[in-house]
Structure formats: structure tokens, C-alpha cells
């Protein structure tokens, strides 16, 4: 495989960039694979990569209905963090942070991981206490966290609303300095390129239409491009999980909802960190291109409509201006919706299923992008070893029956209330 480097870039410039290799090939599906991963999103691509890299399993196909990276990995607000209260989430995500830090070098693809820090603003003492509980939990789990008072927040983000004319004054905030952002498309493409180079078949425009299960064991899948035999199958299609589950006669503790996001026109650097509003649901960061990347609420009813919705965005942006009034003078450039697997406790599922050889990776709610490497790594482990790793042991499917819930927000089963 060609190495990406400044030297190669210069070298290729003199041949008009005509000698760059394909980042990934476009193979026709083989008759049989050791492992088939359904879903060419970030998690699926990462799973294939780690199957090859960590477990030496390379007879692998990724089956993607559309084009790779076209789902939530290409439709998120690119935030990477591990600021969780519960141990299951915190330790899992912090393991992921390590993978993020070395991802560009590991993949030889600049994913532009940028640890610019995330600040969760608090607007009351009660909220400061809730953040203290979370931050202390993070610190005791070895994750960086700082509790900022009002003045400390003002020093970092003076453009937030510190005026008198404010409905919910800023009391302080919880900051994870090592959190940040990355270039979302690059993550998908970087994983795809490496997986491809190790022998993984990336098969696009191939829709899964059914499963072959015999005597409780997976035998293969049916697709729009023919049947494919597989010893093991991993489902990794957050946003469409319920659609595939139906083909397996499974009903999951997941509802499908739409999360709204938008970007402003690009402006010169003004905001260095990721900031979230504490008196609602709004978060913002500024991309390297200069766009303010903003997100917040679900539409609030089950949805597969992958599109922006102004009333929801109005609500989101109202909170945006409440937090940072200067946003008012900017213009909203693009809006979009991302389809979310909303699980019933807000945490994901990475587990085996009742069908032998069938594995499930779903339920990411809003937090899928940052989990990409850890999810791929643990899912690859679960598939390769046919047992969960201790990092994803908590993300079991049966935790809803046992009551071992991982509910960061305490909102329970009304998944549409964000």
C-alpha cells in the first residue's frame, strides 16, 4: 500500500497526482467469508480493521447498503469525549480515547483528531453538584476532568453569555481537556483503506435482505447481490438496527429517532472548544473550515426521515443563543438529521445474541461517533473470541431484563425525550 506522507505528496505532485492508488477496491462478493460485517459505517469499518489487525481474521466482508461512511459517521457533530459517570461508559470510552490519540498514525490517514477540550456548562448549584459527581467519577476512573467556576469558564469562553440579561446564568462547568473533535469522514475512509489493504472486501451498494439461520446457528446472509455464506455475522447498523432485527424476528429495546444538527457559514476562528449548554440540549464547536457545528435535540417522534426540521432547529438554536448570543449574527448554512438507535437506558449494546455466530452492535444513541474505535475494537474481540471483552461486558442485551441499567441521564424508556 502507498504510504501517505508529505514526501509522497510532493512526489505525486510532479506526476500531476495521477499515480495515487485506490483508497479501497470495489470487489464483487465472494461466496463465503469467515466473518461478514453488515454496515459500512464507522463502527463496521473499524470492526473489520481490528478483526484483521488484532485477530488476524482477514477473510472478512463489509456489506454496505449505500456508500461507506454514509450513515451516522458522516452525519454527526464529530465530538470525541469520555466524560461519563458510569464506570461501564467511562472505562470503555477512555479506552477509545487512547485509540483516537494514535489513530492518524495507526491508519496512516490524517483523521485530524484535535483535543480541544469539552466544557459542559452548569447553570445552578444543583447542576454543579451533578457535574461534580460525574467529574469525580471520571477522575477516580483515571479520566481527566476539571470543575470550573464561573470566572474560569469566562476566561476560556468569554463569548458565552456572562451578561445580566440572561435567563440561566453560568455557574461554572465541567471540562474534559483531552476531549475534542476529529474529521468524521476521514475516520471512515482511514479505516476502510487499511481494512482493504489487509484483505477485507468492502462491498458497497449491497443491501441485506435476509439471514440464513439453521438450528439456531447463523449460516449466511441474503443480499441484493446474492447470497453470501458466513461463519459469523456482525450487525453494525445503528439507525437501521430495528429494520434488520425484524428480519431476524427480534424485537430490541431500541427506538429509531432523528437527531437534528446544523452548521453555520464559516467564519474566522472564534471558538476553540466544544461547549454544551446546561439548561437544555445544545452543543457547539467550530470546525477547521470555520463552520460552527451545532446540534441538540431529537425531533421527538420515531423517525427515519434523514432531514432537517426547522421547529426542532429553532429550539436548538434558541438554546444556542441563550448560551452564546453572538451566534445570532451568523447564518445557518446546512441542516441535516441523523437516524439514532435510541436504547432504553441511553447506553449501547455490544453483545452476542441467542443465535450462534450472530453478534449485535447497536443502541448508540447520540454517542456513536466518539465510540468508533472502542466499539470496533471490542466488537472485533467479541466476534473473534465468541465472548465479550470486559470493556463491553456491561453493554449486554439482557441488562434490561436483569435491571443492570446504565442510565447516564436517568430518563428511562421515554427515548424521545432528549
Amino acid at each position: 500500500m502507498q504510504k501517505y506522507s508529505i514526501f509522497n505528496l510532493v512526489k505525486n505532485a510532479f506526476s500531476n497526482h495521477e499515480n495515487w492508488d485506490l483508497a479501497w477496491k470495489d470487489p464483487t462478493p465472494k461466496e463465503e467469508y469467515d466473518v461478514v460485517i453488515i454496515g459500512g459505517g464507522g463502527h463496521g469499518l473499524a470492526t473489520a480493521y481490528y478483526l484483521a489487525k488484532e485477530h488476524n481474521i482477514t477473510n472478512v466482508a463489509i456489506i454496505e447498503k449505500g456508500w461507506i461512511g454514509g450513515g451516522n459517521v458522516g452525519r454527526n457533530t464529530t465530538i470525541i469525549r469520555s466524560n461519563y459517570m458510569h464506570d461501564e461508559n467511562g472505562l470503555f470510552s477512555e479506552f477509545g480515547m487512547d485509540l483516537w490519540r494514535k489513530m492518524s498514525q495507526d491508519l496512516n490517514y490524517n483523521v485530524m483528531f484535535s483535543p480541544r477540550g469539552i466544557i459542559n456548562l452548569a447553570h445552578s448549584d444543583a447542576q454543579m453538584n451533578a457535574y461534580a459527581r460525574r467529574g469525580n467519577s471520571m477522575r477516580l476512573n483515571g479520566i481527566d476532568a476539571v470543575l470550573l467556576n464561573r470566572e474560569q469558564v469566562r476566561e476560556i469562553i468569554p463569548m458565552a453569555d456572562f451578561s445580566e440579561n440572561v435567563r440561566f446564568p453560568i455557574f461554572g462547568g465541567l471540562m474534559q481537556p483531552s476531549a475534542g473533535t476529529a474529521r468524521h469522514d476521514a475516520v471512515a475512509w482511514g479505516y476502510a483503506r487499511q481494512a482493504d489493504s489487509m484483505g477485507v472486501d468492502i462491498i458497497q451498494n449491497c443491501e441485506v435482505t435476509g439471514f440464513d439461520v439453521v438450528a439456531g446457528k447463523i449460516k449466511g446472509i441474503r443480499t441484493s447481490r446474492g447470497n453470501i455464506k458466513a461463519k459469523k455475522v456482525g450487525i453494525c447498523v445503528a439507525g437501521s438496527t430495528n429494520i434488520l432485527a425484524e428480519k431476524l424476528n427480534m424485537t430490541l429495546p431500541i427506538e429509531t429517532h432523528l437527531l437534528q444538527a446544523c452548521v453555520s457559514e464559516p467564519v474566522k476562528p472564534v471558538l476553540d472548544n466544544v461547549v454544551t449548554f446546561g439548561a437544555g440540549h445544545f452543543y457547539v464547536s467550530q470546525s477547521d473550515k470555520g463552520e460552527m457545528v451545532m446540534g441538540g435535540d431529537l425531533d421527538g417522534y420515531n423517525s427515519y426521515a434523514q432531514r432537517g426540521n426547522l421547529p426542532t432547529l429553532q429550539h436548538v438554536l434558541t438554546e444556542g443563543i441563550a448560551m452564546m448570543p453572538f451566534l445570532s449574527k451568523l447564518k445557518m448554512l446546512r441542516t441535516w438529521g441523523g437516524i439514532m438507535d435510541m436504547s432504553m437506558d441511553g447506553s449501547p449494546i455490544i453483545d452476542k445474541t441467542h443465535i450462534e455466530g450472530l453478534y449485535l452492535n447497536c443502541g448508540w444513541c447520540y454517542g456513536g461517533f466518539k465510540a468508533t474505535p472502542a466499539s470496533g475494537w471490542t466488537f472485533a474481540h467479541t466476534i473473534a473470541q465468541d465472548r465479550v471483552h470486559e470493556l463491553n461486558a456491561g453493554y449486554s442485551l439482557n441488562r434490561f431484563s436483569t435491571g443492570n441499567l446504565i442510565d447516564e441521564k436517568g430518563l428511562g424508556t421515554k427515548t424521545w425525550i432528549s
Binding site: 429494520i243 429495546p253 417522534y301 421547529p311 431484563s401 421515554k414
Partner: protein, 89 residues
């Protein structure tokens, strides 16, 4: 913004309503033995498919009635609405 026909009040914008989830879920009767599976199906498990979806809305800033709405989850087209006690054929 959806435009919902409240069977009690008529066409109203969605911001007068609050959502209540899958209307096909039936609560097990009180004082009845319920298996773990049945209970989990009631509390947690949802089909949530693409296409027609029968769901609950409450006309919270209006008549406060819970109603049933049949809507397409991909196009948001609303086919029919029902009162709470109306049988959905």
C-alpha cells in the same frame, strides 16, 4: 412541523402535542402473572420500523386527550388519527 388532526379539536400544529410512543404496546393486566419476556416486551422492546407506525400523541396544549396517530416514519405522512378509545381497524 407536523399538522395533526386531533379527533376532538381538528387540525393543529404539532407544537400543541406531546409524543407518547408506540400505540400498539399493551400493558399487561394488573394482578396477572406475567413472564419476564412479556414484561420486557411491554416495558422495553419496540419494533420501531420504517413505514406505517401507530403511535400515541397527547394534545397537551389543547384538549389534553391522548390520541392515536397512524404516521409514516420515513415520510411523516399522517394517514389517520383516532380517539383513545377508538378501535384501530
Amino acid at each position: 412541523m407536523l399538522y395533526i388532526n386531533c379527533p376532538h379539536c381538528g387540525m393543529r400544529s404539532q407544537n400543541e402535542f406531546s409524543y407518547g410512543g408506540d400505540a400498539s404496546v399493551k400493558r399487561p393486566e394488573l394482578n396477572k402473572e406475567v413472564s419476564d419476556q412479556e414484561w420486557d416486551d411491554f416495558v422495553y422492546n419496540r419494533k420501531s420500523l420504517r413505514g406505517k407506525h401507530l403511535e400515541l400523541w397527547q394534545h397537551i396544549s389543547g384538549c389534553r386527550q391522548w390520541i392515536k396517530v397512524e404516521r409514516d416514519t420515513a415520510t411523516h405522512e399522517i394517514f389517520r388519527t383516532f380517539k383513545a378509545d377508538e378501535e384501530v381497524a
